[in-house]
Structure formats: C-alpha cells, structure tokens
C-alpha cells in the first residue's frame, strides 16, 4: 500500500465520527438523484411493456397530423378523423382488420354513488373494439357490449367502484348515462392502465355520447395481414389518406403513449425529488468543505511533519483528496442503495395514496447508477479541493510550533465578506421577488444567503455560544465552563456542526413556506375572483373526471332560489397560430358570479364572432377592443373573432372567453369544469346549497361547495403534494 493511501485509511479510521455529517449529506443527495432516475426508468419501462403488450396487435394508427396545445398542457388536442376512412382503409392490400377508436371522457359512478377515479389519472370512455387483437383491452369476465347501454369496464375500476357484471350504474359523459356492466377487461395483463379507468361501449353509443357529431373517431387502428410489416403497412396506407391525416406504426404510437404518460407522472415527482437532491448536494458541498477545512486545520502539525519528513505537496494534497473520495464513494454507494430504496418505496407508496404506478420490477439502468455516483464523487472532490491544496501548502516548520489556533471567529475579513454576502443575498432575493420577479435573481439570492450563513456561522456561533453558554457555569460548574470554552475554541467547527442542522431546518421551512404561500395565493385567488355563493365542480387537481354536464348549469339556474348559474367550459384553439385554452361560457352573466376586475368594452354581446381577452394576453398578443384574432379550431376551420371586451382578472376565468354559440360548431365532447352559482337576495347559504345539491344529484352528484369550502379544496391539492 503506498504512503498516501495508508495515511488516508489511517485518518479515516481515526476520524470516523467527524465524517458522519459529510457522509449523510452526500448520501441524501445521491439517494434522491438515484431514486429519481431509477423511478423514471422504472416508470418508462413498465409503461412501455404495458403499452407494448396491450397494443401489440395494432400495426398502424391513422390520425390527424395536427395538434393544438394550450400553454401548460402536456398533451395537445388532436382533431378527429372521419370514420368513413375505415372503408377506404379496408380496401388497402395488406390490411387485415380496421377499427375506429372513439375516445372521450366518461366517469363511472360507484355502487355507493361516489365517482370512481378522477383524482388525477384520466377517466376514459370509448368504443369497445370487437377485433380482439386491435383492442388493447382483453375481456377477463362476461362479454362484449352488444346493445346500447351495455359497457365493459376495466377490472381495476370495477373493483374500486364495487361494480360486478350485471350491475347497473351511471356513466358521466358528462351527461349521466345509465349503463349496465356486461364484462370486465384487463389492460396489458394488469387490471388497468395504472389507475386510468376505462369504459367500453358500443360504437353507436360512443359516437352518440363521446363525440360532438357521429362519424368521427379519435383515430383508426389498423392490423396488418400476414407477412406485412408495420412500416410496409404505413407506406401502403399513406397514399390513400386525405390531407392532414397521417399513419404511424403501432410501435411509434405505443412509444408516444409511453412517453406522454410517463412524462406526465414524472414531471410531478422528479422535479420535487431533483430539487431535494440539489439542495442536499449543495449542503454537502458546504459540509464537505467545512469538514475538510477543519480536518486540515487540526492536522497542521501532522501535515507539517509529513512535509518535513519528505512528503511532497502533492502527496499531502492527494492524501486529503483520497480521503474525500473515500467518503464520497462510500456515501454515494450507500446513497445509490438508498435511492433504489426510495424508488421501491415510492412504487409501493403510490398506489396506497391513490396515484397510479404500474407494476413491474425496478429498472436500474447504467446511467442511474453511474450519474449519481459521479455527481457524488465530483461534489465531494470539488469541495475538498481547496482544503486539500491548503493542506499541501503547509510549511514544514509548522511541525515544530504549537498547533495553529483556529482564529476563524475573530477574523475581521470574515465579518466583512460575510456581511457583504448577506447584503447582496438580501438585495438579490428582494429584487428577484418584489422588483422584477425573476427566478434567477431570487435563486442566486438564496444561494448567496446560504454562503453568507456559512461564512458568518463562526462569528455568530461565538456570540451565540457566549450568550447561551453564560448560565452553564452556574448550572454545571466546571463541566459547563469547559463545554462553553470548547465550543468557543474552534468557532468554525461549532458553526459547521450547527450549519448541517441549520440547512436541514431551512429546507423544511422552505418547503413549508412555499406550500403555505401557494395555498394562501390559491385561497386569495378564489376568494378574490369568485363572486358567487356556491361552486359546483369536479376534482380540480389533475386531468381526470368527466367534467360537468352542460345541462347542469341551466338546470340549476331554473331553481327558485338561484339568481345566476354560470358554467365554465373548456375549449382549445390556436389564436393567431399559437395554442390557447378557451373558456366557453355565457359571457353576459359571467360578471355576476366572477370578479373580472376592470372591463373595457362589453361582455354582453360577444355573439358568434366576438371574443373577450385578458389585459395580459392583450398586451402580449397586441389585442385591444376592436382588433381581430383568428382562431383555428380542432376541426381545422379558422374563423376571425373580434375582441369586444378586455378584462383584467383571469385567475378562474382564463385568458380567452367565447360564447357557447360560437363554440358549438367546433365542439368536441362538451363539459363544464366549474359552475358558479349566486343566490337571490335573502336566500341563506344552507338553503341554497341544498337546492343546488338536489339538482346536482341527478347529474352524477358532483361536489357542491360554498365559497370558503371551494377555496380550501382548491388549495388542498398542495397539501397532498407536501405530504409526499
């Protein structure tokens, strides 16, 4: 064993406890990083297997080429294709089977009257495809739907809704439809596609309830005859397709689905885990630097002795670095194991809290092993570099003198530098938050603040120890005095110990404050913008649910106690070429239940060619009252709309508002996401709410909440995030 290595091992053995803090920080950072990567790989692999298995019989998918994606949406809306294409495709040589795939939202109501799913994962309804190889679902029990009103439900959804073959229940499309379960299905060998619920109906039913017009399908699935490859099939299909319609292979389609669905799950959790990992590694950087700075300072005589005896600067530096990398490798290796544990834990935890996580073994790719390991080691070595170089520079003569006393606490330079850092941190953060909101400024400010804490730590620790330690003498006599003196002797060591704890507390408070602010903002948003008395909504967090029946708002409005009931529907279109979410509603009464801020122009007469936009959107897109915006809808048509009103408050209402009449020709599956209701003067909240609930019960029983309840539940999603 060579000398540097032997010194390293000996030193590690002797200072085990000192490295525990460093070890922990590196461990956490690496564990979160590895956990994130492993979870990502696992998700992708399980979804990929699942889609691969389920759609193995589909050799090509025919669909429209264009999507319209509103900002913030992960998935664009695709224009439907004509089912008449099925007949054209059937005639193409090499085609064995063709089936339209009609897909929409449909939420099952459980035996106990509660909706099934809808807390995040989609609730899908579609036509039951009779060709078993084109249908990703397999019948596990019962039979396929043959008559109107008969459905097949995926087994997972049936279990959660306590539905059995032969049961009759309601499917919200969002119009409530009475359906009888005639079969249970599996997807890719599992009880469902994660927690996605699926209801398969006859093609006629699907066209009737799930599409705006019959004769339209989301896509057309094609199976090739013997000896025809997927590529070959796509090449054969392409010439017969009309403009704007494309064919892709089944494999590509499965891959797209995998990517889409796994990225949707991943973004939610990976960003969270990555932030945590980043913070832990940042802490690790400081912790390692501090630990080694102390180790090197305390080992001045030892290093000087080595230098006197003929150790080169490099040997001393390398021995310190090897020490750091030993800690790094050990902590990273254990961190890797921890990360795999995290991924396994999440895999087990997710279903328990209602999040889908497909079954399957953990997938541990090379990258998820190497990257965290490399990051851990690089962080360790990088932060130990400075102390190590300092160790190498130790003068041999120092061996003959008394140990250099750590004077870090007393240094004026430290106070000045720390003060400057702290000041710029405060300025940066405040500027980033208040003056011109900028994540970069605020982020830099936060990092500077952390650096300031580390630099000022020893100064503060001396003062703190003096203050806190004062009564020790009286309480504990000599022992107390000694404890105080020891803490004071090496302020940097004291501060390093404290900073590990400090950063931990800071991270927890960061998340708590962040979530609390988000919650408060949400609360405020709702109470500021929502001017109604009760809100009728489906779960607001996530993409699931079927939405509310467009018939519900008028039904509520007919109640004697109700003054106004306005439903907000969602649509999507390209506004002058870029995808935007539209709010489809009755603009004339909108202002009575929502606070729109200052309104220029009038919302009363938008008609079929008028639109209202927010001030913010108006500024960005150069729109003002009287200007024209061209909307391209998912059916491919483009129409000019005149801006008739500009309003300032958009939190609940959204950026673009058009009338139901304007939307009707382009609609897909209609639904409202929120109905705001105001009562007539003199009607009590309890009385009014009861009346609204009676009506809602006939429409699949969506939740009816008072203004306060609604605000709280809107913010509730954040609590869920936080508990994770």
């Amino acid at each position: 064993m060579n000398a540097s290595l032997r010194l390293t091992v000996a030193s590690l053995r002797a200072h085990r406890r000192r490295f525990a803090g460093t070890f922990l920080a590196v461990f956490l950072g690496v564990a979160f990083l590895a956990g994130t990567l492993v979870m990502g790989d696992t998700l992708r692999a399980s979804f990929s297997t699942m889609f691969g298995d389920a759609t193995a019989g589909t050799d090509a998918v025919v669909r429209s080429a264009d999507t319209i994606t509103a900002p913030g949406e992960s998935q664009g809306v695709r224009q439907p294709v004509d089912t008449s294409l099925v007949r054209t495709i059937e005639k193409v040589p090499g085609v064995a089977a063709v089936a339209p795939n009609i897909e929409g939202r449909g939420q099952l109501v459980a035996a106990d009257g509660k909706p099934v799913g809808g807390q995040g994962p989609p609730t899908i309804a579609g036509n039951w495809i009779n060709d078993p190889r084109l249908n990703p679902y397999r019948l596990a029990e019962g039979r396929a739907p043959a008559r109107s009103g008969e459905v097949v439900v995926n087994r997972g959804a049936a279990r959660r809704g306590h539905l059995r073959v032969g049961d009759t229940t309601t499917l919200r499309t969002p119009e409530p439809v009475r359906v009888t379960v005639v079969g249970l299905a599996t997807f890719g060998g599992a009880d469902g596609m994660g927690q996605v619920t699926f209801t398969g109906m006859t093609q006629a039913d699907a066209e009737k309830y799930l599409t705006a017009r019959s004769g339209q399908a989301a896509s057309i699935q094609v199976r090739a005859g013997p000896g025809v490859t997927q590529r070959g099939l796509v090449s054969a299909l392409t010439p017969v397709l009309p403009r704007g319609v494309e064919a892709i292979t089944g494999q590509e389609s499965a891959q797209e689905n995998t990517d889409m669905i796994s990225s949707r799950f991943l973004t939610l959790f990976t960003s969270f885990l990555l932030v945590f990992s980043g913070v832990a590694l940042l802490v690790a950087t400081f912790s390692i630097h501090n630990t080694f700075a102390i180790v090197v300072a305390q080992r001045t005589r030892e290093n000087a002795l080595l230098r006197a005896l003929g150790a080169s600067r490099r040997q001393v530096t390398v021995s310190t670095l090897v020490e750091a990398s030993a800690v790094a490798v050990m902590a990273s290796a254990v961190g890797l194991a921890g990360g795999i544990g995290i991924a396994a834990g999440l895999q087990a935890l997710f279903p328990a809290i209602g999040f889908p996580f497909p079954k399957g073994d953990l997938v541990i790719g090379g990258l998820s092993l190497l990257l965290p390991l490399a990051v851990g080691v690089v962080v360790c070595l990088g932060s130990a570099l400075l102390p190590a170089v300092r160790a190498g520079r130790t003068a041999p003569l120092a061996a003959l003198r008394e140990t250099a006393v750590d004077r870090s606490g007393a240094s004026r330079a430290r106070v000045v530098v720390g003060g400057a850092l702290a000041a710029s941190a405060v300025v940066g953060t405040l500027a980033g938050v208040l003056v011109s909101p900028s994540l970069w400024l605020a982020g830099t400010g936060s990092v500077l603040a952390l650096a300031a804490f580390v630099v000022l730590g020893p100064v503060a620790s001396s003062a703190a120890v003096r203050a806190l330690g004062a009564p020790l003498h009286r309480l504990r006599g000599v022992t107390g005095t000694l404890a105080r003196r020891n803490a004071l002797r090496s302020p940097r060591r004291t501060a390093a110990t404290a900073s590990a704890l400090m950063v931990g507390v800071a991270v927890v408070s960061l998340f708590t404050v962040f979530a609390a602010s988000l919650k408060a903002t949400m609360d405020q948003t709702v109470s500021r913008s929502f001017a109604g008395d009760v809100a009728v909504s489906t779960p607001s967090f996530g993409a699931g649910g079927s939405g509310l029946s467009p018939g519900l708002a008028p039904a509520i409005a007919r109640q004697a106690v109700v003054a106004n009931a306005v439903g907000l529907g969602r649509g999507v279109a390209k506004a002058d070429g870029s995808g935007r979410a539209l709010t489809v509603t009755d603009p004339a009464t909108l202002g009575r239940v929502f606070d729109l801020g200052t309104v220029r122009g009038s919302l009363a007469h938008l008609g079929t060619d008028g639109i209202a936009v927010t001030e913010k959107e108006g500024r960005g897109q150069h729109l003002a009252v009287g200007s024209t915006v061209r909307l391209t809808f998912t059916d491919g048509t483009t129409e000019p709309f005149t801006v008739r009103a500009v309003y300032s408050r958009s939190e609940l209402v959204g950026d673009y508002v058009i009338t139901r009449a304007a939307w009707a020709p382009h609609r897909t599956q209609d639904s409202d996401s929120l109905i705001a209701v105001s009562f007539k003067p003199g009607v009590g909240t309890a009385q009014g709410k009861a009346a609204v609930q009676r009506v809602a019960a006939e429409y699949g029983n969506p939740s009816v909440q008072t203004r306060d309840e609604y605000a709280t539940s809107s913010a509730g999603g954040i609590d869920m995030m936080l508990t994770l």
């Binding site: 010194l7 005896l309 150790a311 061996a399």
Partner: protein
C-alpha cells in the same frame, strides 16, 4: 575520534544570515555563522535561548531559508533548490528527530518507522529497518500506535525513523527535552552509536550539558554568532563554558 580535515562534510552553512521581520523590528537570528558538520561525527549546538541555535538547525536542514549565505547538504546548495527538490532532499538525505510530535498519531510504530521510505515509494532496505527495530528495542511494539507508547519509546521510534532511509545527516531538535534522564540517556546513546557504526553525521540542538556531553564536539552560539567550539565535551566543562557566557552577559 578523528578530526582530520579529510573527513567529508555531511552538512554545513557558510556566512549564514537569517533576519526575521523587517525595519525596526528586524531580528538577526543568525549573523554570519559558518560551520560544518562532518560525517561520522556527533555535533551538539548549544547556546542560551534566542542565540539562534534552532534557526541554524532549521536552515541547515532545509526547513527554512537563509536571508543570505549558503547552506549545504553534502555538495548540494540548498538556496538554489525549489520546493519539490528540497522536499526530495529532506526525504532522501536527511533524518529528523524533534522534541515532540515526532510521529503520525494514526499510523502504527512500524508504519511510522518506514514512513520516509513509503513516501519515497521505495522498498528501502527492509533488513536494515529490521535491524534498527532491534537496536531501538521496539520489536514488541511494532503494531502499537504512538499514543500507547511512553515518551522515551516514542523518541526511540523517531530515532529509528530518522535512520531508516540511511540519510547523510540526522538533525535532532532537543530530542531529550521531554524525557526523564534514563530515557534521555537511552536516546542519546542510540544517536551516538548510530554516528559511530554508520559513519553518519548527527547534529543535535540542546540546552542540556549532560546531553551535549554525548557529542564529539559542541559548538556554542550567542546572539546569532558562533562563539566557541569544544572537542570531547564533558557535562562539567560544558556547564562551565555556559556559566562563562552568563557571567559575561
């Protein structure tokens, strides 16, 4: 012992000047000292506190640099060497025994003894090291850590280490300063025997006349100057000489 001029000089300084600080606060720790330490001789450097004896040793051993004048190890002039060469020179040609904190606390006795060899990456002469272990009488302590040894045993480990690499010269800085007289005797005896058996030079800084009496020659420093030399010292003669200094000052 022989004092022929033919004897090779293992180490030495010529017109050595060392100034600490500058301006009004400048202190001339060495003020034109010229002295040679021949191979096969045990030289003691004595003098009152502040006479520059430690500074002389540090500069001669390449631990510190002279303000002017030159220091030699064999034929090598130290002032021209950069840090790396100086480090190699210390490692390969010089042995050290300090007053305290001689050993790396985390290494065992055996590892401490072979440390200079290990730093050189050389196997060294293991038989020689083995013989040294017997000479210093630490065979049964090889796998102990320094903290488990007495002060005398620790200094004997340091002596073994100093000679492990067969250096040209061993510098000892108050090697018995922290020891009781019996342990001190043992360490000094070891140094004396090493000089005679191995024909090496040993240079020892001490303020103890009894320790100095183990040397072949004592050089006396006062106020940074070489003021006297004494062949074949005895404790009484050394003590008398020191008293003479004090009477004069």
């Amino acid at each position: 012992m022989s004092t022929e001029t033919a004897t090779k000089t293992a180490a030495g300084v010529t017109d050595a000047v060392k100034v600490y600080g500058s301006g009004d606060t400048a202190v001339r720790a060495l003020d034109g000292v010229s002295v040679g330490f021949p191979a096969g001789r045990f030289t003691a450097i004595m003098g009152p506190s502040g006479s520059g004896k430690s500074t002389l040793m540090h500069c001669a051993a390449g631990l510190d640099t002279l303000t002017s004048g030159s220091a030699f190890i064999g034929d090598t002039e130290l002032s021209t060497l950069e840090d790396r060469r100086l480090t190699l020179l210390r490692r390969d040609r010089i042995g050290f025994v300090f007053q305290a904190f001689n050993l790396v606390p985390t290494l065992t006795v055996a590892e401490n003894i072979t440390l200079p060899l290990d730093l050189a990456g050389a196997r060294g002469d293991r038989e020689w090291v083995d013989a040294l272990v017997d000479v210093v009488g630490l065979r049964d302590r090889l796998h102990h850590r320094p903290a488990e040894l007495s002060g005398g045993q620790q200094q004997r480990v340091a002596v073994a280490r100093a000679f492990a690499g067969r250096p040209d010269v061993v510098f000892a800085d108050e090697p018995t300063g922290n020891l009781d007289s019996r342990s001190g005797e043992e360490v000094l005896g070891l140094l004396g025997r090493a000089v005679r058996h191995m024909n090496r030079a040993v240079v020892m800084v001490t303020h103890d006349p009894v320790a100095a009496a183990h040397a072949d020659e004592v050089v006396f420093l006062a106020d940074g100057r070489l003021v006297d030399r004494m062949e074949s010292p005895t404790p009484d003669k050394v003590l008398d000489r020191l008293k003479a200094f004090e009477a004069r000052t």
